[in-house]
């Protein structure tokens, strides 16, 4: 049967007077691509930040591979095998693309020979098609290239779970199709589990097996993409009254 690689139980997060998340339960099964959707301000990125250790939840637990990772610092969660990209990309601007990826690789293999982690860094950069720009400072990349760099860095941490935060923004139709193919291959060829926040509904429909819908900090519904988009409550949440 499906094993839940990532589980959240009763996750709540309060920022001052704002209840960003309230009693959220969710599961991401190993080897699946799971979409996380919802209108702006629904709490999607907050949920990602809690899982990735940017900040702890106000209450609730996060389980990864059956073990609790609640409140662990971000770097340790990364070393457990969870990688994430940022919605607004955060490249190391003054460093070259290869160095950007090498940071991830070296911390995956601390104390190992340089050749070993540099190979991993080069492979990860090649996987997203940025090898030609390896010596370019990351600040000179365009938005789409920066998103690719984020994914390359994530891959160089050799994750089990990859969390993507709106990686398709700014891409044209053809690029979106390529990206979807790329993400599916990450799952099919590398066995990665993908947890994916995305506004491009077409991509969610095509690529995911399961969709979790958040609205105003609560789970509205969970199900296969086709059922979810037909759900009255989801349409209502997106379009309002």
């Amino acid at each position: 049967m499906d094993v839940a690689l990532l589980q959240g139980r009763g996750l709540s997060k309060r920022f001052g007077g704002v209840q960003a998340l309230e009693e959220v339960d969710f599961e991401v099964q190993a080897g699946t691509i799971v979409g996380l959707i919802g209108p702006n301000g629904a709490g999607k990125t907050t949920l990602f930040n809690i899982v990735a250790g940017t900040f702890p939840p106000s209450s609730g637990v996060v389980l990864f591979g059956g073990r609790t990772i609640t409140g662990m610092p971000a770097f340790r969660i990364c070393r457990q095998g969870i990688a994430r990209t940022f919605q607004v990309t955060r490249p190391f601007g003054e460093m070259t693309c290869l160095e950007n990826v090498a940071v991830a690789a070296v911390n995956r293999h601390p104390g190992c020979p340089k050749e070993q982690w540099m190979t991993l860094a080069r492979e990860s950069l090649a996987a997203v098609g940025l090898e030609a720009l390896k010596d370019t400072a990351a600040k000179h990349l365009n938005v789409v290239q920066k998103k690719r760099l984020e994914i390359a860095r994530s891959l160089a941490t050799e994750p089990t779970l990859l969390m993507l935060d709106e990686v398709l923004g700014g891409l044209n139709t053809q690029e979106i199709q390529e990206a979807i193919g790329f993400i599916r291959r990450l799952r099919d060829d590398r066995g990665l589990t993908v947890f994916w926040i995305e506004h491009v509904m077409g991509a969610i429909m095509q690529a995911t097996e399961k969709v979790i819908v958040l609205d105003q900090g609560r789970v509205l519904t969970v199900g296969p993409p086709r059922e979810v988009v037909a759900d009255e409550r989801v349409i209502h949440a997106y379009l309002g009254d």
Partner: protein
């Protein structure tokens, strides 16, 4: 490529030997300038490790030199401890304080870190000024030298060894795996953490190592001057070290070396105009930080790049007239 590497290495070794022989041909005054320059190489290179490579712009670096100087000086003058043991103790104490201040500043960045370290520096300054019984305040504390016989030439080699040790430590750190982590933390702490970088460890480590090196520099300097005054842990000193690093080239390995020698030698020549030179350096450092953030090293490098490109493509104008 290999040929060029070995050639560069030989050039470096030859330059170093020539530099090591230089004081034999100099008078006492110029030997003194060389020794002070080497002190500033230690200070600027270690501050650069912290500010240039991890982005923690500390204003407490002179204070750590003061901790080293006073710890070693008090041990030697009041307890009769061997000055070399005192230097080791001063280095260790500076490392411990650096570790603690590093932890204190963990959640701080930018201006807040600078202000906290500035506060630390001022507190230390006030303590030294007022604990007259122990430090002899602004009168200064007389301390024994490192050697039984005072010799400028011997001090030159001690300071050269200290500077080479400092540069060696900095070089090893920035060229190790840690160097990547340092720069990642400087560029974007949150992104670094998300990629497995232990930001806390990186920042505290940089603070500790950098402070220890400043402590060593300060301790050696005190035993060279034979009189330790609150001038060593002063803000004047801090801003001089900052100017040297920024003007030489912050975040580059040779920048602080160029800055330390350049500004120390220059300040000897403009000393006649009074103590305004620190102010002048501060203004120049401001201008450099604004218009040429990579300092002299950056300027040399871009001129060199243009020359080289002009050599490859002769059709392009070398430099605009």
């Amino acid at each position: 490529m290999d040929m060029r590497m070995t050639k560069n290495r030989w050039l470096l070794a030859a330059g170093l030997v020539a530099f090591a022989l230089l004081p034999w041909g100099l008078g006492v005054y110029h030997q003194h300038i060389m020794i002070v320059s080497l002190f500033y190489v230690m200070m600027a290179a270690s501050w650069n490790l912290l500010a240039g490579y991890t982005g923690q712009v500390s204003f407490g670096h002179a204070a750590f030199a003061g901790i080293g100087a006073y710890a070693s000086g008090i041990l030697a003058a009041k307890a009769g401890v061997n000055p070399w043991v005192g230097v080791a103790a001063g280095t260790l104490l500076a490392a411990i304080f650096g570790f603690l201040v590093g932890i204190l500043c963990l959640k701080l960045g930018g201006i807040y870190l600078s202000l906290t370290t500035l506060g630390f520096s001022e507190i230390l300054h006030i303590i030294i000024n007022n604990e007259y019984e122990i430090t002899r305040g602004t009168m200064g504390l007389q301390v024994p030298g490192l050697l039984s016989e005072y010799s400028k030439l011997a001090y030159f080699y001690i300071f050269l060894a200290g500077a080479l040790l400092t540069l060696g430590v900095v070089y090893r750190l920035i060229h190790s795996d840690l160097g990547l982590n340092f720069r990642a933390v400087q560029n974007d702490e949150r992104a670094a953490a998300s990629l497995g970088v232990d930001v806390v460890k990186v920042r505290v480590l940089a603070f500790t190592v950098s402070s220890a090196l400043a402590g060593m520099a300060g301790a050696l300097y005190g035993h060279y001057l034979l009189l330790i005054t609150p001038q060593i842990p002063s803000l004047d000193q801090q801003f001089l070290v900052l100017s040297m690093t920024v003007i030489g080239g912050m975040g580059s390995f040779v920048g602080p070396v160029i800055g330390a020698f350049g500004l120390e030698i220059l300040s000897e020549y403009i000393r006649a105009y009074g103590e305004y030179h620190v102010l002048a350096f501060g203004l120049v450092a401001l201008a450099v930080a604004r218009f040429a953030p990579r300092g002299m090293v950056g300027i040399f490098r871009s001129v060199w790049e243009r020359r080289r490109q002009a050599a490859v493509h002769p059709s392009l104008p070398a430099e605009s007239p």
